[in-house]
Subunit: 465 residues, 2 copies
């Protein structure tokens, strides 16, 4: 029975589905989904479904596909490019309640629902001495579904890899509601097309991920870290390139620029940073060889003129990381009346890291912007965060110009428009430049997997010309 009243009238068919979860039409509920952690604002969805099972996801998709109604999957809402923000109304399909966790410690893997939060998973895995390892800043809210959707990663990818590198198997619901298993719960396979790798990073535009089997790593027995400062950002970034090019495999290798150290210190009384361009180096090992690696890392920093080296033991590493993880909040609170225009996220080949770090500073100065930088430097990944007065349209425009110029430079250097945040709304315009003729193939794959175009429309791929 379809109701003809209310803004959600096209989606009233949802009431007729037999679902385990809930359907909500109230505007107060729907309004929560028009934005994520970015500045992108979408269009009010007509309905929100909290799926309680894979069957729910299947039922909603099958019915929506029949009717050509857009479906935008959502779970943690911590995206930085509007990845899960509906731009074409329709249904928001919230998978946050798919929270089952099943750990197979002997196989070093876990099978988890799309709604499982990153930190929750790692809390549960700690009892087994295991870890899901990409190491993301937003681990308190980001879900496994979202991490798969954007191929998320962070601090520890330099040693352990991106989400993709850990995903062994996905349960996915197709646009027309079929439930398929992609991949197997094994370390390696050469059996056919790797659909799970096609799905990872596709941001819900090819299918909706409901369950994930990921490989795990052992929690290292030994961890050592050092906060190292340098006279300038060039020296710090050259030390990064040199360390990685020397085949050092750190557990993490972060770049934090001078402005970021100031922001972090201002945000927390106990923040440990010296206000200079800084590297945070962490090493992992299961044996005492870690001290030798630490000496090697220190020698490289000395070669590049480091000014201070402050070693941190196992006991205070986590405090340093907690301070670093607050970067987004620290930036937001740095100038009360200003806001973050966007969070840049480029990757370049590691030998070009000094160049891209310099380019952000140069372009930012040129555009008269206040821009802080941090980066998972060991991967060649740099984040940059211009602050703007949101009421000053011209200033906001300059921040977007900064992003365009830096992304264009990164692509020219052989790099990528996004290392871990995904394309979402904000990076679509760079896809033709980055992918060239391959973009047509992506569009063909999209049309094959989602012929009615209902899955997260307006994301990842630009409109076909």
């Amino acid at each position: 029975m379809a109701h003809e009243t209310g803004s959600g009238s096209a989606c009233r068919f949802l009431e007729e589905l037999s679902l385990d979860g809930q359907v909500r039409f109230e505007e107060s509920v729907r309004k929560r989904y028009v934005s994520d952690e970015s500045a992108h604002v979408g269009r009010l969805p007509e309905a929100v479904v909290w799926a309680a099972s894979t069957d729910d996801v299947s039922a909603v998709l099958a019915a929506a596909n029949d009717r050509g109604i857009p479906v935008t999957p959502w779970s943690g809402g911590s995206g930085l490019e509007g990845n899960a923000v509906p731009v074409d109304g329709g249904i928001v399909l919230n998978t946050a309640e798919l929270t089952d966790i099943s750990v197979s410690p002997a196989d070093m893997q876990a099978t988890v629902g799309a709604g499982v939060v990153y930190d929750d998973l790692n809390d549960e895995l700690a009892a087994y001495g295991l870890r899901f390892a990409p190491g993301i800043s937003s681990g308190e809210v980001a879900t496994m579904g979202g991490m798969v959707a954007t191929n998320a990663s962070g601090f520890n990818a330099v040693r352990y890899g991106e989400t993709r590198d850990h995903v062994r198997r996905l349960e996915v619901v197709t646009a027309d509601g079929r439930v398929v298993e992609c991949g197997r719960g094994v370390v390696k396979t050469s059996a056919g097309y790797s659909l799970k790798d096609l799905l990872v990073g596709s941001e819900g535009t090819l299918g909706v991920v409901t369950e994930v089997t990921v490989g795990l790593v052992g929690i290292p027995e030994h961890r050592r870290a050092a906060l190292v400062t340098f006279p300038d950002r060039e020296s710090a970034s050259r030390a990064v390139a040199d360390a990685i090019g020397s085949a050092l495999v750190p557990g993490a290798l972060e770049f934090i620029d001078e402005l970021s150290t100031k922001m972090l210190n201002a945000y927390r009384d106990d923040a440990p940073f010296t206000e200079q361009p800084t590297l945070l180096i962490e090493l992992h090992a299961n044996n005492d060889g870690i001290e030798e690696d630490l000496s090697f890392a220190k020698a490289i920093c000395e070669d590049h003129g480091m000014t201070t080296w402050e070693a941190a033991g196992q006991e205070n590493i986590d405090e340093i990381w907690q301070a670093r993880r607050d970067k987004l909040f620290a930036t937001r609170s740095y100038r009360e009346e200003w806001e973050i225009a966007l969070v840049g996220d480029v990757v370049v080949p590691i030998s070009s890291y000094p160049e891209i770090v310099g380019a952000v500073k140069e372009i930012s100065d040129d555009l008269d912007l206040v821009t802080s930088c941090v980066g998972h430097a060991g991967d060649g990944n740099l984040h940059f965060t211009p602050l703007v007065d949101p009421d000053d349209e011209e200033m906001v425009e300059r921040a977007h110009e900064l992003n365009e110029r830096v992304v264009t430079r990164a692509i020219e250097l052989g790099g990528t428009a996004t290392g871990e945040h995904g394309v979402g709304i904000g990076k679509r315009k760079f896809m033709a430049d980055e992918h060239g003729a391959a973009l047509e193939l992506m569009q063909s794959v999209k049309e094959t997997m989602d012929p009615n175009g209902i899955l997260n429309p307006g994301k990842v791929l630009p409109e076909r010309e």
Copy 2:
């Protein structure tokens, strides 16, 4: 000008293309391509093209696609499942002469032609202290194009991953001759659909890979190895599962059954094996912590009742590996009048490794076959090699029954039909069992990327029902 004479008449259009490379129609040439290292025999191709450039590959594909002529890419010819054997005549497109190598040591990556041989690449990389790391047995002949096609791996995947894990960028020619770049020469990216991951393992059925950019690893400063024997295969395989489940990350962890040690000793005078179920454990590190890891590995082997532990230093590790790499030839020469029926290649979750090792023995005994086993055990990967009298059809039939029963058991255990050899001809029949509903999606992707079905027909996917 099309010639109407000779078996290659449908392919005479090749003479009209302006190619940098060569076109050959002689039967003596074409005959070399009807089989690879497996027992699968294909159908004589009508022409062979040695491509000398990406443009050649593009020209051949565009013209063949217009005419609906099958094209089977070929490079090293070392496949074990008939992966590159033409089964439908047409053109064999040999990419073995695409042998450019460009190393960027500072970026820890290399860009190489599809015809570059694995060992040749590593010989060139050694000067930089770097390595392309999957570690395959057939490294003297296998090419990068073939490794990408089958997502090949081997000894060192347990630490460094499969070919997929190293591929950053591919240059691919589509069925209709478009040249596309998939992926970027960076460590990580979240920019759109990962076409390079779709192409890796697709065995030339979705496009022809002409160039590959791979990530490299540092050659470890320290290597230690040990040959460890056990009273029975169960103890050896339980030690493997225990080591991996304890988060040991070996450089290699090989299982060699008693019959294989006998074959290897018979093949080479200097083969170092004690004729018992054996593990070959290798550890890698850049510091002295390696000794501690070695003690840890030894303690696990002691827990499982090891009978001998023979340590090998840096100086003689390579000799042990050379002996192990000869396994295929050693097996072939074990009984002069017999042949290898097939080389099995399953992977199971590591906790099931003892069970699959036991299953091969049990099923082989049941079928009265002589079957040797080796495996990249740390990955849960097991190879099994039944020997048969090729003139005894019933015996050959029993060998295929062994394969069917072992693969079916592996899939039941959550495993895969092929860990590193690919699907080719031989494993197509298992794809429905392994992938279920996902197989339809694979077929849709194939139809999208190769609408005329010209690319390596008869491989990977079973006929659509």
